[in-house]
Symmetry: D2
Subunit: 345 residues, 4 copies
């Protein structure tokens, strides 16, 4: 089949490739409709690796996908041919200790689409476990369904935060993950999100997502800003979504006593903390890794209209322009959030 293949660093081709998949009794075969371009895909394209994961042989890109069920294995009960679906890109060992405890995202054996050497899904078809394939509500488009993957990251962060209704949240970093985290935080009960970034265009878009107060931290002190909003008390939750180690030294400054920091961004280098600053507020720090059991919840919120991801889908490319989509994503303008690729019907 024709797929978007990363041959090596800087070398994307659309070409024929056989992923060599076979339908097992608990699998479904899916026609792919839409695939989002994620920062990790782009990073493999530009760097050929992410940490220990190195592209050593050609790999199909793409892991944020939606499509239509073409065939179901004989033990599959909750899906049928023709169902519109979205898929979790990570497949754990269902018998691992982590999976059995309900934390399958922490299973070290997880096989994740477009993480070497596992193929991604920028291709016409994929075979996938039905347990990680989810029916999409009728009123949710394929494009929105392909946003469930990044949204799930924000949802998982908001779930781990244990947001209480009426909380004030700060989201640091107005990239795609910061945006979905803001949406998730609001859906999870926050009364308002303070979005902190240094790019005005991104902040302007964030401000359209709901009760989001943008603050450009190039010009304003975040601690003071939040203090002024809260009579000196601080924010209940801070979501770190920038991945920048530079935010760490002052991370606890805008936090309320008894507040929570969720570390969503993944800084490549160690970060330096002032532990005592956290202790005097008894900050709880949650760290998150992908998501578990979140897809059905994200789809329910999209279906009911409690979350609207449409403003984040800023750019769409046809399959044959996939290389252009990646080149666009490499130099994404600040007014864009998410580029998606549509496969031919």
């Amino acid at each position: 089949m024709q797929a978007v293949v990363l041959e090596a660093k800087h070398d994307i081709k659309i070409r024929d490739i056989d992923p060599g998949e076979k339908l097992s009794p608990r699998d479904v075969r899916i026609r792919i409709h839409t695939v989002g371009v994620c920062g990790s895909d782009v990073h493999y394209y530009t760097h050929g690796r992410i940490g220990p994961f190195v592209v050593e042989k050609p790999m199909i890109l793409g892991h944020e996908a939606s499509g239509t069920v073409l065939e179901v294995g004989r033990d599959v009960k909750h899906l049928k041919t023709g169902d519109r679906v979205t898929m979790e890109p990570g497949i754990p060992d269902p018998n691992s200790k982590a999976s059995r405890l309900g934390m399958y995202n922490l299973d070290p054996a997880v096989r994740f689409w477009a993480t070497p050497p596992i193929h991604g899904v920028l291709r016409p078809e994929v075979i996938h476990p039905a347990d990680f394939t989810f029916k999409v509500p009728d009123n949710v488009s394929f494009a929105e369904a392909a946003m469930v993957e990044p949204l799930a990251v924000g949802m998982h962060a908001a779930t781990k935060a244990k947001v209480k209704p009426g909380d004030l949240a700060v989201v640091i970093g107005a990239g795609p993950i910061g945006m979905v985290t803001a949406l998730a935080a609001l859906a999870a009960g926050c009364s308002r999100v303070v979005m902190a970034d240094i790019v005005d265009e991104k902040l302007a878009l964030a401000a359209t997502l709901g009760p989001v107060t943008p603050v450009n931290v190039k010009n304003k002190n975040l601690k003071q800003f939040v203090s002024d909003m809260t009579e000196g008390w601080g924010a209940d939750v801070i979501f770190e979504c920038s991945g920048s180690p530079r935010v760490a030294p002052t991370l606890f400054d805008p936090l309320a006593p008894g507040g929570t920091v969720v570390w969503v961004g993944m800084p490549v280098e160690p970060v330096s903390f002032d532990i005592v600053a956290a202790q005097v507020k008894e900050a709880r720090i949650e760290t998150v890794f992908r998501y578990a059991h979140v897809y059905p919840r994200a789809l329910a919120l999209l279906g009911s209209g409690q979350i609207n991801v449409k403003p984040l889908i800023t750019d769409t490319f046809p399959f044959e322009k996939s290389k252009e989509a990646f080149d666009f994503a490499v130099k994404m303008p600040p007014t864009s959030v998410k580029a998606q690729i549509e496969l031919p019907a």
Copy 2:
């Protein structure tokens, strides 16, 4: 001052009365603007008592109130003259063990407006502890601010439920408390609320509040209805807001494994449970009593637009028609939810 006084059962008068209050250093004096009529006020009017609380001497009615600060005690820092405010009607002993543990609503010494022998606030002015008086955002009206009291009940229930983003909730009983609980549940992260009642007009109003699916349980089986919506899994949270002991025997039927029941309604008689039906799902049952630390959160959600109580304020009476307001509330038509009384400016 002129106040709405319940002289005895069935006997409301607007007449002069001196509540005998004095401003302490941590108090504020408030001009009352709007007061909601609550079911408990009506019950004192029609029955002269609620359980052990008996109206033995004339008592001013009303406890859902908003107004404007007229004067502040010398130790008050967070309020000033002219501030628009809403007030918690219950004042605990701040030094009780329950208060110090952060559960002041469970302090048996709580003095609660319009609960005999404590006067309520259907009167021009009241003196109140500043710690239980909250500034109202500019974009929230006095009428909405007077809704914070009932909303706080729903918010407290939704908080205790520990709603996870994307949960499906069932609310049983589409009275005022069921309505605010539905709003709170959605704001707290539910993707959808199934509202169960037996009166079509109430269900019709509920369906306008957001992603609320009404179900008339005179005609439909709630367990089957929820099962069909959830592929047989059930609802994550059930809020019992009817107060009817009749719902208890089948209360756990629509619940998902590992789900939560929050018992908000206060049945006057013992209710009969099937414990094993709860156990096979490991149901968690939370019981709630009023609210604690909820007012600022409710105001934040009203101010940011995440909760909109305006559809629930269906009837407004001027102060001099207070008796008519109570008579109206006694026989409230099913299309009405909340009657409020406005005091002269």
Copy 3:
């Protein structure tokens, strides 16, 4: 093989039977050493049924077992021949939604030893999934290992209670489950357990288990007793282990504000609650069903000496006296807690 077979109500035979089991790659074959006699085994013996579960054909009894691994399937990694083990008697569908969420005990498809029509383990050998077979520490005897099953019920209850260090707990009902729940509550952080029962001999044994204060509720008022111990505050946690519907009406009386009731006992008929009595304390009520992920934790606490179940193993019978063991259990003297059957080596 020779097994203890319940042919029908009142009819136990030791006779040859073929359970027809086959070793799968993820299974182990186990030589059974010790099997405890549980109230449910006894109930099948005396009544031929428990609720919907009816003994319609001969069934091997016994589900509290320990033994030695004889053979391991080819995919089994954490066990080897000769390992001393204890086994969970319930085997869920690992792919069910409940199992994947980490709540395998709530999977309706669970197959449970000695619950019709599933055979139990009063027999020389059994084949069992390795995932539900646990290595026993060297310093824990087979007799103690066979106590892990009932202990797991108490451990699960204490875990769900979310005991905080220093809590005071009340355990209602000094039967075997009440005893293991008291041990688990103390290990989980309680400073003291008040054990309530009406049989002095049971209370005397309970008092030997650690800081356990016995109270015979035939002579003493439990609410007053706990109130006197706590300056009127009440107990932090109440474990209902009697299964008696009669305790329900006053169940919340000894509870502290913000306290928790765990309903461990399984009353056969509906029980009647005073919901308002629970609400004014905002009681949290947890219901439990068997256990999940508890065996390794129970074994760790036995191995480290933090829990000692030896005082509860009061009576031991050889395999050939199994019928006598059951007849003894039917009329257990109040000084006995647990009878066990030892199989020939």
Copy 4:
């Protein structure tokens, strides 16, 4: 009265001083019996300051105290003359937002004994709020009661950890706080504590406290050690009690997926974390500051024998040898844990 006064750095005198206290209605006057020497007292002695807190005028030392009630204010109900008591050294503003939320330890207005400019209690008498004065069980000695203050730190850490029964904990640092944290962790449900330090004498003492496995991390790799104990899974909870920034880079290595790190030690400089190492395990990090609502719980556990602090009270000095006690504490031998000073009766 004669008190142990730190005149300035390196200058302790026993001399007459008037702390100028007056009994308010909610206060008690206490005769001091025993006072522990804490690392912070010693630090003020040797350095004249801790961070922003500088000894600028003479200050009485000591904050770990027990004694006997001499006089009670007129509003005090739960204490009477002659009661043996222990006292929390920190007095918050009961009306602060933090206090009202139940987190009085996070109130920035806390006045803490022997933290400049507040006097400590190495003196015959003190006046203290009754709400922060706790009756000691008859079977708990004054020496043990004076250990409640440091024990409360460990108890608070174990409470925040939300230990589940059967957890394995690692405690890093076998100083006094590491020791009480190990005791608290075991009382809170841990099956075993792995105590990590680099001084064999401290580890030897730790090993006598219960199921504590000592490991000298000069010779052994902690990650490997814990991995070998847990079939590669890791520890459920890690308590960082060394205060050393050097432990941070490898802190998450011995942790299990989904595990918790509690940061008890207070490193004076920023520490450097590998966030991704925490994320792949979704580590939860709790930070703690002193304690709140813990004293009654610690006393209950001491009274019931669930915690035994006696092995930690290694050295006792009479009041007139207070200077010697401090000089001893400055160069504490590794076989000592806690020095206490006894006042004349």
